[in-house]
Symmetry: C2
Subunit: 192 residues, 2 copies
């Protein structure tokens, strides 16, 4: 095993530990000592990889972003018609969040906190960009309404996030029927 892989492993352990603890206890309820313990490293080790707690949290956010990015890209069959591509797309995003609840809650906490202000990638939300790029073709080909692209992307994205949160908190049982219904609502809303 190479030096680099070991390095990556420790870093990853710290990330995973932080992710879980922040989800459970929030930013302020997550002491570095606990992060260290859960990650199986010494407290000082964290500071070998990150300058401070804030840096760690901002880095974790970036790490989650890129993981999400990778997951969300593949599996799009461009030969199919735009409508069914939209539904597949929407549901895939939904499932990603449901399968990664820790990431969802961390990110939601993060973007609503003052951390987000200081976040370098704030402007270039790649996750939003993936959606935007997809919707763009829909608008250009006249399948979707003429509308500010960014605005439409955010609306679609927020519907996914909202539905995932509803599902995870079990406020409403989300089966295949409900999933289809919600996606349909958004589709009917944006289609020309």
């Amino acid at each position: 095993m190479s030096q680099e892989e070991i390095l990556a492993e420790k870093k990853k352990a710290i990330f995973e530990s932080t992710l879980e603890l922040v989800r459970e206890n929030g930013f302020h309820g997550t002491p570095m000592s606990l992060v260290a313990k859960k990650a199986g490293v010494a407290a000082g080790t964290i500071y070998h990889y990150f300058d401070s707690k804030d840096t760690l949290i901002i880095a974790l956010h970036g790490y989650l972003r890129s993981r999400m990015f990778k997951t969300m890209l593949d599996g799009d069959d461009e030969t199919r018609d735009f409508e069914s591509r939209f539904f597949t797309f929407w549901k895939k995003h939904y499932h990603f969040y449901v399968q990664n609840p820790n990431a969802l809650y961390f990110i939601e906490q993060f973007v609503n906190s003052p951390y987000y202000e200081r976040c370098p990638e704030k402007e270039n939300d790649r996750c939003q960009n993936i959606i935007a790029q997809f919707l763009k073709t829909g608008i250009e080909t006249g399948v979707l309404k003429q509308m500010n692209l960014k605005l439409m992307s955010i609306l679609v994205h927020s519907s996914v996030v909202t539905t995932a949160k509803v599902s995870l908190t079990k406020k409403v049982e989300i089966g295949e029927t409900e999933l289809q219904q919600v996606a349909q609502v958004i589709w009917d809303g944006i289609k020309q």
Copy 2:
């Protein structure tokens, strides 16, 4: 001025102070000493009204809820047709959030934090209930799609919140046109 009103004034000052500081610095970046200073009271005084910092924050959340509740109820003209009532309703909600950004950000931080788990009013979200009650008549009269009421309410509510956040962060300039557009997307999505 009655005893009660004086009491209300100090309490309110503490609430407002907390609200502003939490919005700016997050929960963990808001020490009680600062809350006290900004509210113009002694640190100990806060503990005359609240058992702990957590209690204060949960109480503030309840306080904001009831203020929102009051604001959002009035101004509905039941004689008009359902569609235009929906648009007025949607926009009124939007404007409330835009005019109370501190409340919006506080609540968004709150509901995504572990505080929310321990929140007694978690189940009975009155704000969601107002929306639900309104949409209910729409579903019953066949103007809206047949769909889980709670789910529809949450979707509508989240679209309002999302749009307000977009507007406040100026990611997209939200004028009357854009506002109408977004409301239209949601309306087209839920209408029968």
